[in-house]
Symmetry: C2
Subunit: 155 residues, 2 copies
Amino acid sequence: MIIRDAKLGDEVSILGLIHELAVYEKAPNEVINTAENLSKDLFQDKVCEAIVAESDGVIVGFALYYTAYSTWKGRCLYLEDFYVQPAFRKQAIGTLLFEKVIAIAKERKVARMDWQVLDWNELALSFYRKHNAILESEWINGRFFFPNSSLEESI
Amino acid sequence: MIIRDAKLGDEVSILGLIHELAVYEKAPNEVINTAENLSKDLFQDKVCEAIVAESDGVIVGFALYYTAYSTWKGRCLYLEDFYVQPAFRKQAIGTLLFEKVIAIAKERKVARMDWQVLDWNELALSFYRKHNAILESEWINGRFFFPNSSLEESI
């Protein structure tokens, strides 16, 4: 089992895991991202970055993150998605991925690392509690969806 | 009253408004950002962008945003902070700023625009409801703070 930076070609496996996580989060039809677009964003335009967990040459987990910004704290690292396949849990792979992202945040000397977790996801919440993370429930997410995005037009 | 892109030199006024908003959000001591760092992030490294509302040459409101990423939706626009001074409210300045950010998001053809609002901030919540925004309360913010950030070291 190795943890390594994602490399060109990994986008297909990562997108597969993104779909698995969307099913778990009860929103399987919400994924409009494509392997081609993810590849461009990760490796060409570098809008985001990813690390993967590889077991016998197969990617079984990943963490995807990017540089966010806080008016209060300056640059932050935002952990957008973080997933290990059920069959590969209980082997500390999640801990290895999570701790690697924390190490990257510290290395870059950002003031804060952020992520979000669904309030019914007890498995994830207990994982974050074990890592002594701060969990704030007083925020509400505001959103607009735009149906004519370049990603949807390209499909 | 004009709405325009922030330009070099505006960082001092914007930081003043960031401090005002922090007082309103009951966290006046949480701001470690400096005008110098904000200037670098906005105008040199372009980690984030801002628009301002100017009345008689004085900046009375701002919106600060950046390109975020969703594994499901690809590139998104994240509205990090958005504020109008109390004395200048009830003049639709907030609406002008907010609608300008929405227009930028649409222009860039992102699939989603996101922000966060505190659950006790009824003024902001009713503003977003009036704009038919989706408001999701089932998410919890996970965070780590790192005391040795480059920003803190530079102070």
